[in-house]
Every structure is written in C-alpha cells, then in structure tokens.
Symmetry: C2
Subunit: 261 residues, 2 copies
C-alpha cells in the first residue's frame, strides 16, 4: 500500500500462505495480483521483498533462487542482520543482488486489516551492505526507501545488530517481563502508564522469538547493563537516597525528552 | 475542567504558587476565581482537593486546617495512600472530613496547557477509607468520581499501595531504567516500541521521587519479582531455550492482550 500510494512499482504481486489473505490484500488494493506459489511469484520481477519471520528468510531465498530473473534485487526487512546478510548474499550468488534492509516500523498487531500506507513515513530504515553488495543495487534500494519517506541509514550488519539490540530488542524483553510480573488482582487498576510500557508485549511471537534468539549475544550484553541500572535505582530507593534517585531519574528523563512522543 | 463540564460545582477556586498559572487557568475557564493564598481559598468551600506532590499534602493540610468550614470534605489525589491517609485523618480532626482518593490518570507532561476535561473518563479511581472515615463523606466522594465518569473502587490504603506498586510504580522504574540504558549512538534509531516503553520516563520528577520513596517497601518486593522474571527470560535466551522463551513471552502476551490499547 505504501509502494502503491507513491507509484513506485508498475505491478505488485503478493505471496501468502493462505488464500483468504490474498483475497483481503486484493480487496484493499494492496496488490495487483497474488499467488500461493512463491516460485511463480518471482519469475518476472525486478525486486523481491522477503517479509517472512527471521528464521524463514534464508530457506525462502533458497526456494526462489533458481527462479529469480537476472539482475533482480532481493531485500529482506528483518530485525536482525548478522545471521541473514552474508548467508543471503551467498545464496543469491551473482545472477541477482541481495541488499539487507530494516525499516524500523511495525505494530504489535498483525494482518492486512492493520496495514497502513504511511507506516514507514519518518521512521528509520537501516540498510546493511557488505563488501560484496552490488553498488547499483544498493543505490536503487536507498532511493526506494527514500521514496517511501523513511529516514535511510547505512550501517554494517554487526553495527545494525548492536543498535537494534539496545533500542528495539531490549525494550521488547523489558515490556514482556513487566507484563509477566503484573499480578492478576492488580491488573484491573492498570492505566496509561502500564499500557504504554507493556504495549509491545502483545507483539507476534512467531516474529519475535527468532529475532531474540538470533541477536542473543548483543541482547545478553545489553541486559547486563540494564540489570545494573535497575539495581542502582533499586538501591537508591531501598536506602532512601533521594539525591541518587533524582540523579538517575533525571538522566533517564533528559534522554527520553529528546525524542518526540 | 472535568468538574465544570459535568456541572458538579457551583464555584471552583484555584490555588497555585504562581500568578501566571492562575491567569492561564482563568483564561481556559478551568476555574471561576483564583488565589495564591491557600488559607483564603478554603474559607467557605464545601470540598477541597489537595493536588500537590505527595510530600506536600500533609503540610498543606496543616496550613489550611484552621480555616476549613465545618463539614468540609477534603480529598487528596496522591499515588500513595499508606503514609497519607491516617495522618491526614488525624490532622483533619472532627470538624471536617478527609477521604483518600487516587484517580489513576495523568500525563507525562505537566501544566494547564496539557489539561483535558476527559482525563478521568473510564480510568480507575481508588478511594481508600479507614475505620475513621465518615460514611456520608465517603458516599459523596464516591458519587463525585462516578459523576467524573471514573471507574470507582474502594480499597484499604495498604491494599491500594500494593496494587499501584505493581502496575504503576514498577512500570515507572522499568521505563526509566530502559531510557537510562539507551546508548546515545543508538538513540537515533529509536522507533515506536522504544518510545512507548519509555514514555513515562519523561514524567515530572517532583511528583515521582516522593511517590517512589513513600511506597518503597512494596516497590522493593515487586522489583525482586521483576528481576527474577528478567533473569528467567535472559537465561532462556542465553541457553537458546526456545520452548522456555516462548512459554514466558506467551504468558506476557496473553496478559497484555486482555487490556485494551
């Protein structure tokens, strides 16, 4: 829908596992045509977007590889890059081009009903080229995401994984743990603060478990930092140390105030 | 503004520390008249709402006590009750009536510019009577918050403090710690998930430090639970235990899915 609105493609072919999803996508005019056969779908296309869960990207790429048109550009949109990009480049070979992409947008809810043609507007989209990435393909994908109104950044796969561990994967764990520790008897008093802080705990587990498992080295390091911060705050409260608590909360507030709502 | 919209008072008198705030409040028609003198403000009023930070409630009550009209009902709106209610009842004496109230609404931003006459609509409001609370006064305040469109609950002060520790004070600490552990270099990639999860880290410290300090016993217990949950998730990731991770995240998701957005 975002591509259509911006007239970035002549024809969009949707591939899904269920016919009902295809019907919905056609009805919302998100796609021009659809198929359940991933091989057929790529036969004459200039660009392929792999939008599967992390643990299905490489196997899907293996399946479509023999059917890719010469010069076709393949991108993914996954939230981890280290385990994906180099392997994907190897699988794609020389006939087609792979470029790793991560548009940092999404909702805690899934499905075409929740689709939004401005989902990618003003959000970061990180591209993760390597020394093997074709420069023309990279430039084309850079321009594609610019045209989608995203803020495009270029990082190495490992830099990408360090950053998203910190500001995407860690928040996910924190939100889920908070939901986990809510007592059922207290939950009826939950208001805006609790709801905001736990919103992403509702996200699709099929997507998130492979993400967290694939980026575990960075996540474990970030969790150590987070645990230390939490212990600092706990100790300042336990000891009644208002000065220390104020210093810590002030640093937290100042950092958050720099972002928009 | 919420009281005015619902025609629940004949006349509303605002008390602030700064003349500029009074001017703004008059301009937005939030109050009918205003004063900087807290003593004068209560002279002929039937109901007083103490909406100061937690650590100023009792001292403000001491100041106004000699000026309260016979039969006046005084309420607070603080986020902790144990340290407030019994002391407030003692100070108020027999001439006037104190009822502890906690409307669970608020924004991370302060000031009249952010005021909203529907802030209390559909949010929980907890009243915390004790054996000393006057029954008629309690009924009047119950009806008042009902008329404000809040969902009114009645709990003891200590029950209240246990619940809000779990679903309000703990989220506050979690959100602040997450903001604290965001690396400056990663912050530019922050998108919806990070922003939601850290939103309340921007809240007013003048309000929150006394809240956290006053409810520290409950908070320390809830933090222990939270830390244990976090360690469970960390270990399942570190050991690549997908089954365990899925079980934990699923419980978190199911709980969050029960709440609206």
């Amino acid at each position: 829908m975002a591509v259509k609105k911006r007239h970035l493609a002549v024809r969009i072919i949707g591939v899904t596992a269920h016919r009902s999803t295809l019907k919905k996508a056609l009805k919302r005019q998100a796609i021009d045509s659809g198929t359940l056969d991933v091989r057929k779908s790529v036969l004459d296309t200039d660009m392929v977007i792999l939008a599967t869960p992390v643990d299905k990207i490489l196997s899907t790429l293996e399946i479509i590889k023999p059917y890719l048109k010469k010069g076709c550009i393949v991108i993914d949109v996954a939230s981890v890059k280290g385990v994906i990009v180099r392997a994907a480049e190897r699988i794609t070979g020389r006939n087609a081009y792979f470029v790793g992409a991560h548009p940092m947008a999404g909702l805690e809810q899934r499905g075409i009903d929740k689709a939004d043609c401005d989902l990618f507007k003003n959000v970061p989209c990180i591209l993760t080229p390597t020394s093997r990435t074709n420069t023309k393909a990279l430039r084309a994908i850079f321009n594609f995401w610019k045209a989608m109104d995203s803020k495009v950044y270029i990082l190495s796969p490992s830099e990408h994984d360090r950053h998203v561990s910190n500001i995407s994967h860690l928040p996910h764990i924190v939100a889920s743990t908070l939901s986990l520790s809510a007592r059922p008897s207290s939950l009826k008093f939950a208001s805006g603060g609790f709801k905001d802080t736990t919103r992403i705990a509702s996200s699709d587990l099929e997507l998130w478990i492979p993400i967290l498992m694939s980026n575990r080295k960075n996540i474990i390091l970030d969790l150590e930092d987070y645990l230390n911060g939490l212990k600092d705050i706990r100790n300042s409260i336990a000891h009644g140390d208002k000065v220390k608590l104020k210093k810590l909360l002030w640093r937290a507030k100042r950092k958050r105030d720099m972002l928009d709502s």
